[in-house]
Amino acid sequence: MKTLRAVITNLFKWAYLLFFFAIAVLPLVWLILTSFKTEAEFNAYPLALPAVWQLQNYVNAVSVAKMHVLFMNSVIIATTATLLNIMVTSLASFVVSREDFPFRQSLSNVIVAGVLMPIVAFMVPYLAIIRNLGLYDTRAALILTYAAINIPISFFLIKSFMVNIPKDLEDAAIIDGCSFVQRYTKVVLPLSRSGLVTAGTLTFIWSWNEFIYALLLTSSSSVRTIQLGISFFTTQFRSDYPSMYAAVVLAMIPSIIVYVFFHDKIISGLTAGAVKG
């Protein structure tokens, strides 16, 4: 009897695991399949495989929606925001983890506590700040905002990494005549590469996917990000759903590529924050 019960439990377990697997994968697969169908085919048989795998929808997506402009804007914004974010947080992480100065611990705690801030509630202040800086409707507005919003998480990840680098290495470097700045650039920074990559990956994916502040802080189509761009497709494509889905698939590709290469980093980065301590 015990074995029968074990079989049933096992069955339920796998049904449960597979259900969530299906939820995560099937809608995506359906979207990708649809992006290769003709419009008539999609209207007649929404669930069927494409009769002919044709790329016309992708051609439409690029020509109608100016995907290349949107794509370039997102690449520029997400990359620059990530670099700025990593520079600012690694400088601070270095002094907080390697030097002693007044209010060091409290400063660090305040910055990390920023992860709990409901950023969405700051629509009005961010709009005011960006307008006052004269940055409204520029790529710089989003670069600065994205770099700033990700400070708490990046600072936390990089600092936890730098704290664990043995002090001896730096002492040896000082004896060899390393200056303060060289200790940062030549000793600590190279040794914390793994932490920098984790923080950078998270910031890049977040910035690539961000929607709310792209909507609020930009208005003209020349600086528009890809996420904002595809959210306007419903009107641009009218009812040509397959072409719209082709554009959505194109917008997903970079985050998926980054995830394929760095998923271990992403998973370890996310768990570090929640589980430690």
Partner: protein
């Protein structure tokens, strides 16, 4: 002391960028959102101080009541339903069944894809004419389904919440990491004492990772309060205002150039958010949210 550290100039220089950006984007907005909530302001002409008028005006708005109700539904669905589902997956995967690593990676995929793409995807699934959901239901039941899931009052909110609740990847990973850090010797000892799998999970795993589950619940409920993106993209708050949330209302107020009222909603979001985080941690047991060792 700063002066005692011979590198004090460099320390100052290294800390200036983060201090400036953090102040501008985390501390100043805090004060700004509260102050401007007490004003009538269109964003162009100077602010006019009007005390708590925005608050009393908002409390009477019927959209506010709907939004608050929806935010509560969101918070409870994410905090209990999503975390419950995620916890079960984490407990199963922690016993390292076949393909557990692949499953963990795949469950997280929807969380790397942008909210916009996910929203477009589900809008397509829920579409009345060509949607996959109606097509699947037609196939299973043999009857013609043409329900407009996002356009009908009774299914719009559940439809948006359901797609979000079922993406358990993020919280599953956090809870799984906690479960996997439990030494296997605990379970070996329990096994020798004749404890069943069920007993092991409820008497060992659950109490040990309870702190992490509470953290996850707190975060999930805070996300429920802030909810904006999926609803904005899938229904825009409609039909009527039936799927509106506080953040959506705030965005509409900005569009209507009522920035003072928008800030009032922003202030409510911040205050209620902190209240939720503090009370949940006090009532359900505490664990440092940021994982900082104090």
């Amino acid at each position: 002391m700063l002066v005692k550290n011979k590198n004090w100039k460099w320390i100052l220089i290294f800390m200036i960028p983060i201090t400036a950006m953090y102040t501008a984007f985390f501390i100043y907005p805090f004060g700004f959102v509260f102050f401007s909530s007490l004003t009538a302001w269109n964003g162009i002409s100077p602010m006019e101080f009007i005390g708590f008028e925005n608050y009393s005006k908002l409390l009477q708005a019927s959209t506010l009541q709907i939004s608050v109700r929806n935010n509560i539904i969101w918070s409870l669905s994410l905090g209990f339903l999503q975390i419950g589902l995620a916890t079960i997956i984490a407990f199963i995967l922690a016993r390292r069944p076949r393909f557990w690593k692949t499953l963990r990676t795949v469950y997280f995929v929807p969380k790397v894809i942008s909210g916009v793409a996910i929203a477009m995807l589900w809008k397509a699934v829920y579409n009345a004419e060509y949607g996959a959901l109606n097509a699947v239901l037609t196939l299973i039941t043999g009857q013609e389904w043409s329900h407009n899931w996002l356009g009908a009052f009774n299914t719009a909110l559940p439809a948006i919440i359901a797609q979000e609740v079922m993406y358990i990847g993020y919280f599953m990973i956090i809870i799984l990491a906690g479960v996997m850090s439990i030494p296997t010797s605990y379970y070996e000892a329990a096994e020798i004492d004749g404890a069943s799998v069920w007993q092991q999970e409820t008497l060992i795993t659950l109490p040990v990772v309870w702190g992490i589950i509470v953290t996850a619940m707190t975060l999930a409920m805070a996300y429920g309060l802030r909810h904006f993106e999926a609803t904005f993209l899938m229904t825009g708050g409609g039909p009527g205002h039936s799927t509106s949330t506080l953040a959506l209302m705030m965005y509409d107020k900005i569009g209507a150039r009522k920035l003072g009222e928008a800030s009032t909603i922003g202030t409510i979001l911040v205050v209620v958010g902190f209240f939720v985080i503090v009370t949940l941690n006090k009532t359900l047991g505490s664990k440092s949210l940021t994982g900082e060792d104090q």
